[in-house]
């Protein structure tokens, strides 16, 4: 208990630097997530002119699919792809694809037959990406008009032809409403910056405290005392874990504010948490490592700057991947922040949990945890070796 309390007293005396890094994180994350998030009032025309790369996978193989492709092929680039969720997500991730639409088997029948339950088109997209959102609004407009025409007695082919003819008369009103509904995606953008917060605060908030705690003079005094080594270590570990929880809670509070509370109802929320938890443990073990190898505060500061900025740049936290060359990408795959970012994007893009996505999250978060475990073990080995040497 003494050591546990000491941990927070020492944290208190380092609050300046902790607040500083928190402020940097908050500024960068908020400014950028606001700048990147969807803004319905600007550049509608400009956005419209963008050519989207879309794949429409027609599992139904009826006339509806062909009509749809024809309708959207003007102004967009329609590519053919196999239905491989993994490949599609990868392409979306690298922005080689803006939108993937799957027409499930039996879709056309469900449109025509009142008795068959309505089916939905399945989509995969880059979250918060304006162009994709624009496409989506057009799509929903298209299907709702089509349904009305079908109800009025048109055949599918005729209805689609009608719509094609009317293509130029699209309204722009729906666009604005659609954009608002999509604002939650600020959360995804914001959460992408979490590694920077965790790494800087994890390394400082653990590294600096361990440095003080392990200073040879006070350590000798503690070793002379009747408090067992186990108790002392337990106190430290408890302090570190509670500190980690506080970091996590802080992020959740900020995301709640950013999303205006909607994050708590979001299906993606638990998965975001899992991904963050992996990153958190990685950062904590990095802090443990730092506090063990650093000789003084300057060394801690140096390590924090090099590792936080290095990992965040290489991991694609600060720079979007589309600016990366192939060589950089290869290196990036060895960086845990990269896997955090990939997972964050995938979770951001999801509308419902699929087994493929669950599998991805499991492996990618597992990978980050693996890194955490390796760093933790290396540190333990360093400590054990040092004991032998001084003994």
């Amino acid at each position: 208990m003494q050591v546990f309390k000491l941990y927070f007293k020492l944290l208190r005396s380092n609050k300046g630097i902790l607040i500083m890094y928190f402020a940097i994180f908050l500024t960068v994350a908020l400014v950028i997530s606001n700048a990147q998030s969807v803004d319905g009032n600007n550049n509608q025309e400009a956005m419209k002119e963008e050519i989207l790369t879309i794949t429409i996978i027609d599992e139904d193989q009826k006339s509806f699919g062909n009509g749809l492709k024809e309708y959207f092929s003007s102004g967009n680039d329609i590519v053919d792809m196999e239905y491989d969720e993994q490949k599609i997500l990868d392409k979306l991730y690298w922005r080689k694809l803006d939108y993937a639409l799957v027409i499930p088997k039996g879709f056309e029948e469900s449109l025509l037959d009142e008795d068959v339950k309505d089916m939905t088109l399945k989509c995969m997209k880059v979250p918060g990406y304006f162009d994709a959102s624009f496409f989506e609004s057009e799509l929903s407009l298209y299907t709702s008009k089509l349904t009305s025409l079908l109800k009025a007695g048109y055949s599918v082919e005729d209805a689609q032809k009608q719509l094609l003819d009317l293509q130029d008369e699209q309204t722009k009103v729906e666009l604005a409403t659609f954009v608002n509904a999509n604002q939650n995606d600020k959360s995804t953008t914001f959460l992408a910056y979490v590694p920077y917060l965790f790494i800087t605060l994890g390394m400082n908030g653990i590294g600096l405290i361990l440095l003080t705690f392990n200073a040879p003079l006070v350590r000798a005094r503690m070793e002379c005392s009747s408090t067992t080594m186990k108790t002392r270590i337990a106190g430290l570990v408890g302090g570190i874990l509670l500190y980690g929880m506080l970091l996590m809670v802080t992020v959740i509070v900020v995301v709640a504010i950013v999303s205006k509370g909607r994050i708590f109802m979001d299906v993606r929320f638990p998965y975001f948490l899992i991904n963050m938890f992996g990153m958190l443990l990685f950062s904590l073990s990095l802090g443990f490592f730092t506090g063990t190898i650093a000789k003084n505060q300057d060394a801690v500061n140096g390590l924090v700057n090099v590792l936080s900025i290095g990992l965040c740049f290489l991991g694609g936290v600060f720079v979007p991947y589309e600016f990366f060359g192939d060589a950089v990408l290869k290196v990036a795959k060895f960086v845990p922040t990269y896997w955090y970012a990939v997972t964050n994007t995938k979770i951001g893009a999801m509308t419902e949990m699929t087994s493929g996505l669950a599998n991805d999250i499991f492996w990618q978060v597992g990978l980050v945890l693996g890194y955490a475990l390796v760093i933790f073990s290396v540190t333990i080995v360093i400590i054990a070796n040092r004991r032998k040497q001084t003994a």
Binding site: M1, Q2, L6, K9, L10, S13, N14, T212, L217, V218, A220, R221, M222, E223, C224, S225, S226, T227, T228, M229, A391
Partner: protein
Amino acid sequence: MVVKIENLVKRYGDLVALDHFNLEIEEGEVFGLLGPNGSGKSTTINCLLALLEYDKGTIEVFGEEMTPTSYESKKNIGVIMQNVAVFDELTVYENIDYFCGLYIKDKNERKKLVEEAIEFVELQDYRKFRPKKLSGGLLRRLNIACGIAHKPKLIILDEPTVAVDPQSRNKILEGIQKLNQEGATVIYTSHYMEEVEQICTRIAIMDKGKNIALGTKDELKGMIDLGETISVEILELPEAVKEEIAHLPHVMNVTYENHLLKVRFSKGKHNLIRLLDVLKEKEIGFAGVHSELPTLNDVFLEITGKELRD
């Protein structure tokens, strides 16, 4: 027996820091470990506290073998190391409370003990100060308070007065004697013979990792022939007179430097009278006359052939 060290050998690489060192300390003693810098005092203390592994020998504290996990023994030991060991981030009060808390879990009891320790080292006015704001003497007192707040039965102080002003030093020495009167056994290391002479009931003199002499200060001084050193201020001393003095009974050695005649006598009577008679007879005028009894430095000098302080 509170402490028993037998045949302790500690090497740092090729350097033999402790060379078959032996020591026994009884309850209630203020035991002094006197030796020049590098003689192995701190190494002895660190081995005794199981902070260091050693190459050979046995160490017992309170009748039990001392190991890093001797937590029962550690409960009753208080340690004040050579270098101040406190947290710069904590206040005076918080520091004492933290280190006391490593021994005393009960909050109320601890509060009382911490207050007592603060009063003991007279840091009442500095409770909320951080160590960086304290002078050297106050810092040393804080260092001591952190080591004794839990009222240990055995208190180990390794050179606690280094770089301390004379006033704080006296306070510290008085404090140690008071702790002893309250029942604590004390081990005190120093390279200042005056301090050790002043407070220690028994003294071991160390050199090069060996215990070269052991006893009370009188016993130690009794070990050497030197009885007294008489110094006389003389403006001019002819060589012939110096020769004559050198041949007086009991004279061990004569020096004349900077108008000061120093004569070392072995134990015997009438040394001063005989010396002054010679001076009067030769009509040599003199001013101040001082007689000094032997010090522990003389003991050290006689055994090792060098001064305690280089």
